[in-house]
Symmetry: C2
Subunit: 214 residues, 2 copies
């Protein structure tokens, strides 16, 4: 292939862009790229043969510009990487888990409820749906969403931490993923809130596969 020419092609393009001519020397480029002068000399000759660059040798240096072939290689790689980074995961898959009851407890606090209403736009049903998910998939899914911070508070009996929420849709119903402060990073269960009791409304059972969308 031609993988070994890519870095040098990027170097040239970064120096003077895709269309201008770079006046330099093999030793100068070699120094900056931390390889030998001989390697740069050989690579540039090879790249010229491959139609990646145009090259003109003068007594005291080189004139290098990127040829159509080189631009094509750069663009191909750019588009591939753009595809990778611009792709945002729109659906998260998980399996319904038996709730452990804690969600119901803190969900009922009016200090949280008021913020759910004002920041998420709905009165949350007092309880959470637990969804077992793949940790890395969650990262990809959440990374494209805007976090909504629900502030914590303290009562005379205990302290309630802040919550990070992400608005989602569950079978068309607007809800949110709720991640309590200081959740273990290895956590593989997400808690989901919604204005209705999702379990009965959507007839969900433990083990059901559920897809939520952003």
């Amino acid at each position: 292939m031609g993988e070994e020419y890519f870095d040098l092609l990027v170097y040239i393009a970064k120096e003077k862009g895709l269309f201008n001519t770079l006046k330099s020397s093999t030793s100068k480029i070699a120094n900056e790229m931390k390889v030998s002068q001989q390697t740069i000399s050989r690579k540039l000759r090879d790249m010229e043969d491959l139609g990646l660059i145009k090259r003109e040798v003068t007594p005291n240096g080189l004139s290098i510009s990127i040829a159509d072939g080189g631009r094509a290689v750069l663009k191909k790689n750019y588009l591939e990487l753009e595809e990778i980074f611009k792709e945002k995961k729109l659906v998260l898959k998980g399996i319904i888990e038996k709730g452990i009851g804690e969600g119901k407890y803190y969900m009922s606090m009016k200090q949280y409820q008021q913020q759910f209403k004002s920041k998420l736009g709905f009165d949350a049903y007092p309880g959470t749906l637990n969804l077992k998910v793949n940790k890395v998939e969650v990262m990809g899914f959440l990374s494209s969403l805007e976090p909504v911070i629900i502030e914590g508070f303290t009562t005379k009996s205990r302290t309630y931490g802040s919550l990070t929420c992400y608005k989602i849709k569950i079978n068309g119903i607007g809800g949110a993923i709720v991640i309590p402060e200081r959740t273990r990073h290895e956590e593989e269960t997400l808690e989901i809130i919604a204005p209705v009791h999702l379990r009965s409304k959507l007839n969900l059972k433990d083990g059901t596969v559920l897809r939520v969308k952003s």
Copy 2:
């Protein structure tokens, strides 16, 4: 460095994104990338050692996901290429040349003038300013601009070809670069039109260096 792992990293990321796990086999990947099974096997092991991927070997295949190091490499390359492709040359430098008179001739045709007014937004002064420029710089400059096509027409005496125009600013005055149809590709002189006589308005003389902006 690690240039030889880049293509494989891109392959994995394209398959399943930056966060999901790819279940495949060394021979399947080798087939698709047109290298040997042994090479893929070795490279994946190396990439795991380098912290580019996470890898799990099972009796009937592999689970591969991209690690933080791999994401860093991909992102670095993405940002470099984005810089190269997103950089739009905003200024084009040239030297005022003596006009050859032809511009003035066709500029006065009302069939062109009507289109200048409707498509470029100004009545063009009947004459062009000739600017000697670097061919490759022109390509970089024009590639980021929207071409405006002025249709050709035929009179009883001759045919007037279509013109490709690019709106620009010359010292703050809105004008356009005009490239006649079938211009020689090696042409190094651009013709510029504007609503005023640029030469007198801007006190330009032959040999003056002029910068036009998009």
